[in-house]
Symmetry: C2
Subunit: 883 residues, 2 copies
């Protein structure tokens, strides 16, 4: 069926935005509610798909368009192609999802030599030939594919000859000359005259608008915003109205509320005697809607009434275009208005107060990524600064500082109180001191779950990773981006929210206090089903988590505590120990340090559950790296250095012994814990003694002990035995008992597959989605993220990075199997997610569907997760009721 409808026909059919495109939908809906929309025709997106198959307009659709054009003539009282009473139309694109400026539109179509001449008799040359030249300019560039610059140059030349600074200074004669010159361009470029038959113009324009779906910039835009290529564009053919028709004419754009602050007040601009594009082009300075209120209260009132009507109908803030032709008011476009995060919250909460929308609708109005920006500094983009490079936005917020390339120097400068941007190819756990003193981090390699990304997200520091355009010359102490050179000590600004790098220090916008935010998050808390915890390895992080409203700690990584500089030495001695006894000696030195950390964390959590993971890292990760140690020892041997040689050789031989071919799948977690039980024992003692002390002090402590890297039910059984035996020993020694839970990470594929067996020994499961993703794909993050992920994403081998958004088909299937079978086996089992995905809105949406009880993420992402969880719950309810 050929789907070509008049606006009022489409309104009766109740067609969706997916069929009519955004622009068409707005016009049709406004027609429905009797707003003054110029009559028009819409061709659906389905016709666009068919067009791509047929590669041209087919006969029956042409007939249908002709048929509807006749009806349009009736409605408008004008005639298409008539010299006396000509109907002019715009042919507009409009995708189901807003793609502003990405596709093409032809205006003033229906004019030709004869009609222009006739028109000039009624309106004068100025209007007639300005209109004609506007048509040739757009038709020429869009339909005939003539370089637009050629038209611009002609206009510039004419203006120069006339000494005119702007278009309005040109007279009728001038426009006539421009038209002649434009026609000459068309003749020269196409070998033909500009098309004189209005219907031929129309069919050519419709085809060209369909084809503009494949504009290079449109393809790019869709790739960035994940818009399916299959959507296609609709085409609207709209009767032209002219804001430049006479001195009672004008045109404007407006938001129904302030898009920056959310204030409920019209916010826009208006220009007398102008066409729509002139407002944007800045030919003259438009007046604000506030001024309009004073100078043209009638128009303002009409505008305000329309805005109210639109908000009432669409139940959202609208972004509108309107035109006044000879005093008559026309609406040309309406769509939901883009707004700042701050405004988004304000508008959503206000509209609830106004009774316009429900709380659940308000929650759906704010994107989780928007919310995130409220918590971080932003670059002030009013000056339109140009980035020199772009990487992956690994940790949000903006920061400026001195470029520093090495850790020692960063620490030194940091002590002086300098603001530092640490620039590295990538970071490793050893760099932690340097990261800690830096204001922001920029790496040229690594992905969204690289070390730098994970650590900075945990710290709430801005970070950009994988900025591959940046070429670092460590010896030269500079980095290059194309022709740009940045030396150590130069100031740069990074925006971890967008991934953009700027030279110099940019102006920042500080995060604003918002009284509506608390209300809004409260609604989210009521709406969501998923619990929200935070991953926190230190007392400071636990404090941040509690401030941001986390309901507990879902993951505290104990070995990160081992890495503190004053502890690492003891840890290394423990690893180098010849036997269990010696190992225990060093472990007992570590115990008070761990205990005091645990106590502080439990105390701050104040009765909310704190999940502490027993040692997970392979031992060799605490030792020096082979490729540093080996040349060092080789050198000592060759040079005959005696001092320290024995120690270095001992270290080397232990490093060689502990070295693993594939450490991610090596002796980690429970595989270490049930072999060297003394490490688990020390950690369990430290936790329980901390909890007992708090109890004795009358404080609350809710401890959950977590075992990692489990693949076999008996591993967990053994670990549970070690923990329980240690606990009984501690309880006896201290003469007091405390409650605690024992659970396991689910991070090997097998663990997910044997959930019913694991449930026998677990009070809770917690998905370690990073490792689970790694294992399920057999993707080593360290190796694959850098080398393979970008090519895979670019070539659509993968649609999304599975380390950022959970892979539903593979990893997600394992998660679903595991949570279902685990809970079937044990009704009281709690199931959480503590991997990076715990804080990702798309992943949260999935977790909400598969019987996960809570998600846990960086303390800084807690509010975002709350919003995402609330939206997931509302989505689930909606789809449940519609099914």
């Amino acid at each position: 069926m050929d789907e070509v409808y008049l606006f009022d026909e489409a309104a009766k059919l109740k067609m969706s935005k997916y069929e009519l495109g955004g622009k068409g939908y707005g016009l049709v809906e406004m027609t429905r509610i009797k707003l003054p929309v110029p009559p028009g025709i819409v061709i659906t997106t389905r016709m666009c798909s068919r067009y791509f198959k047929e590669k041209k307009l087919w006969p029956s659709i042409k007939e249908k368009i002709l048929e509807k054009m006749k009806l349009l003539e009736k409605k408008s009282g004008k005639k298409f192609g008539s010299a006396e009473n000509p109907l002019f139309v715009s042919v507009r694109s409009g995708a189901p999802v807003s793609m502003p400026g990405m596709m093409d539109t032809v205006l003033n179509l229906g004019i030709n030599d004869e009609i222009a001449a006739a028109l000039s008799k009624r309106t004068g040359d100025r209007f007639a030939y300005d209109t004609y030249r506007r048509f040739i300019q757009l038709f020429g560039s869009i339909v005939l594919k003539i370089d637009k610059a050629k038209f611009d140059k002609v206009l510039d030349d004419v203006k120069k000859t006339r000494g005119a600074k702007s278009d309005v200074q040109l007279e009728g004669e001038d426009w006539k000359e421009v038209v002649e010159k434009y026609k000459e361009i068309v003749r020269r470029e196409t070998g033909k005259e500009i098309e004189q038959d209005p219907y031929k113009q129309l069919f050519m324009a419709v085809g060209a608008v369909f084809e503009s779906w494949w504009n290079k910039r449109a393809i790019e835009y869709r790739k960035i915003y994940n818009i399916p290529d299959s959507y296609g564009t609709a085409v609207s053919i709209v009767t032209m109205v002219y804001g430049n028709y006479d001195n009672r004419s004008g045109t404007g754009v407006a938001f129904t509320r302030n898009p920056s602050t959310g204030e409920k007040k019209l916010y826009g601009e208006f220009l007398m005697q102008a066409q729509g594009e002139d407002v944007v082009a800045g030919i003259r300075t438009p007046i604000s809607t506030d001024e309009l209120k004073k100078s043209m209260p009638g128009v303002y009132k009409q505008l305000q009434d329309t805005a109210n009507k639109l908000e009432k109908y669409f139940k959202d803030m609208q972004d509108i275009e309107f035109t006044i032709e000879s005093g008559k008011f026309y609406m040309l476009q309406t769509r939901n208005g883009k707004r700042t995060p701050f405004a988004a919250i304000k508008v959503a909460t206000d509209m609830v107060k106004e009774g316009l929308i429900k709380k659940e609708e308000a929650i759906m109005r704010v994107a989780p990524e928007q919310l995130e920006q409220l918590y971080h500094k932003q670059i002030d983009r009013s000056g339109n600064p140009k980035p020199i490079a772009k990487g992956l936005p690994a940790s949000p917020g903006a920061a400026s500082g001195k470029v520093i390339f090495d850790i020692a120097k960063a620490v030194e400068e940091g002590k002086k109180g300098e603001k530092i941007i640490l620039v590295r190819s990538e970071t490793t756990p050893e760099d932690i001191a340097g990261i800690a003193v830096s204001t922001g981090i920029l790496t040229s390699r690594g992905g969204m779950t690289s070390h730098a990304a994970v650590v900075t997200r945990g710290m709430g520091k801005p970070c950009i990773v994988g900025a591959e355009e940046i070429s670092i010359d460590f010896n030269g102490r500079l980095f290059r981006v194309g022709a740009d050179v940045v030396h150590e000590g130069d100031i740069i600004t990074i925006d971890g929210t967008s991934g953009e790098v700027y030279k110099g220090e940019l102006k920042m916008i500080e995060p604003k206090e918002s009284k509506e935010l608390g209300t809004f998050l409260g609604w989210c808390d009521s709406a969501r089903r998923l619990g929200i915890r935070a991953n926190a390895d230190t007392p400071e992080m636990v404090r941040k988590a509690m401030e941001n409203g986390a309901e507990g700690v879902g993951l505290a990584r104990t070995e990160r505590m081992f890495n503190a500089p004053e502890r690492l030495g003891i840890v290394q001695k423990m690893i180098l120990a010849k036997d269990k006894e010696e190992r225990q000696k060093y472990l007992s030195m570590l115990k008070p340090m761990q205990k005091s950390d645990f106590k502080a964390m439990l105390e701050i959590a104040n009765g909310k559950p704190v999940t502490i993971r027993l040692i997970d890292m392979p031992l060799h990760e605490f030792l020096p790296k082979l490729d540093e140690l080996l040349p060092k020892v080789t050198e000592m041997r060759l040079k005959g250095v005696k001092e320290g040689l024995n120690e270095a050789e001992d270290m080397l031989s232990r490093v060689m012994e502990l070295r693993e071919a594939n450490p991610m799948m090596g002796q980690r977690g429970v595989r270490l814990g049930i072999i060297y039980t003394e490490i688990y024992e020390m950690q369990v003692e430290a936790m329980l003694e901390a909890a007992i002390e708090l109890k004795k002090e009358g404080k609350k402590a809710e401890l959950e002990i977590m075992v990692s890297q489990v693949a076999i039910a008996n591993e967990l059984k053994e670990a549970r035995k070690v923990i329980e035996e240690t606990a009984e020993r501690v309880f006896k020694e201290k003469g007091a008992r405390v409650n605690y839970k024992i659970g396991t990470m689910i991070e090997t594929p097998r663990a997910a597959l044997v959930a019913k067996d694991l449930a026998n020994y677990a009070d809770f499961f917690s998905f370690g989605t990073n490792d689970l993703t790694q294992g399920t794909f057999a993707f080593s993050r360290d190796d694959i993220e850098g080398k393979l992920m970008q090519p895979y994403l670019n070539n659509h081998v993968l649609d999304k990075d599975p380390f950022s958004t959970v892979d539903i088909d593979g990893v997600g299937r394992l998660i679903a199997i595991c949570s279902r079978e685990g809970k079937q086996a044990k009704k009281t089992l709690k199931v959480g997610v503590c991997g990076e995905h715990g804080g990702d809105p798309d992943s949260i949406k999935f977790f909400n569907t598969v019987d996960i009880d809570y998600v846990s993420m960086s303390p800084y992402r807690v509010p975002i997760a709350k919003l995402a969880a609330a939206q997931a719950a509302i989505n689930a309810k909606t789809s449940a009721t519609t099914v």
Copy 2:
């Protein structure tokens, strides 16, 4: 219920071997078919389990035993505890699964001072006191836990005093003295007299036999043979009959057929005037059944009739014990006889010919491991050689040779034609030349799927891995095992079937030709459902595979071909190439080599399918190792060596660049192939050109191209595109087309989970169960097999090494999901297994149940796999009909 039955009562209840134990079952079944079994009582294994709970005999079972003893007295016409007509019994253990000699038995129970004295009046001192001392000896050591050596010493002393060389030379008086001295031992050791009450003796003995289930040697035995601890032992109480009663008495053991050759002829030994244990103890030389036939034709006939009856009833060769008391023939035991692999085949095929069993039963009679031995040299164990060490039996067969520790020396000695046993801590791909010239391989580290294990199995060379007792001193050029020292050049013998290492050169038994084997394997071919292919990387291996009856090649690893010494240099240059063009130059040098290999392999397979896997290994595996290269470059730098420094530094920087943190999960297989497409292209060209040449020569070639390491359907889509485009190019160039299939390994957990998507791009799936096991457990074989597998198996964290026998709960579940969903999506999809598990009988049994079409394994394991597949099919049929 207290389960204590007379033999004929148990026969009516049709109880199983699991309830009666092997010994009890034999006695009960012989009672059923009216063979002359001494009357007796059996107590079931369920009572054993209860005993372990009660920790003693409970009152009701004692009463039940008393009740049955009364009935036994009636049957035997004797009276338990009577001095005039005493009933003596043996109290025998018997587990559901044969555990020869592992548990305890008490003989001659029911005797005491009074009864012995009365007995001596009727039989003389000799029989009476020999019987009494035998009772005290066993009751004392087994029930009273007195060190058996104490009794032996007394007997030795008495014999010495009498100048007697053997027991039979002792007279009645001597036995009386022995009895007195034995009683003194009991008195001294227990503080009590030897128990005089026959019923107390009986209850104590029953308890002791139950307890012998937990003998240290019994526990060890069960661990080795995977017998569940939960089985427990039954107890038989059997009327004693005496082969030493008078000169018309005797005792013997026999097989119903020759257990060595399978010949259908009684094969055993007989001793006049002796008790059963005397035959085994070798006190006098027994006569063979052949001699028996001549000297006592009547007895022989009785024995032969019994043997025939037993074989007819049990439908298998029996291993029997019998006794003649005063001319009366008694059967004391029957069980299925253990036999050599050679005999197993002969007996099974003969019995089919004799109409005793069906072909399917014959197939079930031969263990796959037995079959394997037919193909390999065996150590002649007649001299009872003692191994010095034991490792994992990685590749079967025996070999002797000079111990050599390094590859260069092995190659050198190998050239001289020396037989070499290569001894290493473990082997790597670089050692391949040394392995090739060695007769056998022994490593002190590594597991069943370590490099040495996999490579030698493929070559059919004996290999022992993970012999951890062996401590190699490379500098000293020797290895130590405890106090033993073996120097380089010393001869050792290794048995890859048992994992045993011997000093010196042992006598070997060559594999025998067997005309029955062909028949037997033919039956297996008819019975099995699973197809059997072989993994073969070279033309020679393909030839071996075809000789052994493989139905195709399931896996040819192309990168093993890259590792040939003359090729590795080119491969390295290809990897070091600066750009695609240079890479293609070296690839084009490799192509003719690969093509000639492929052509030879396809030609030998002669129309059977050959699955060739495209490059799978990560590139860095072809480059020198970092820990060798790094000290070398460091040394060159320090010493100021100029020559070769640039090359070495280039190599080092490329090694560093390609180095991966977790290479198993890195850029391998398809992740390499769709990025550096020129490698795939070269390999596909080589394969297809080979196939086209064969076609032109009028020969058959059935090519299957396999992609590895796939985790995402789009990876396979891309790979398929590269292959198909290359194929079309080759077809055009060569002016000819050939058929070929494209398939994928399933070796990442995710691939198994998205089978329905992969099926879109695959003609076949082949499970790479090694990597799939690795990924599912997150067990790095290289790291875990050595360090963790043994402790895990010892502590029952795992029951079986999942790299040897497929893990049904985890990996198996993925396999089942994948084969089901793959075939649902595409009916024509063929699904195979080409990992190490393809040749493991237990795994084959599982694969048979989950809709796998074929398994592929080392060419040497093809017959074993055929048998295992046939057994799996028969098992499935049986369990399907019983359900």
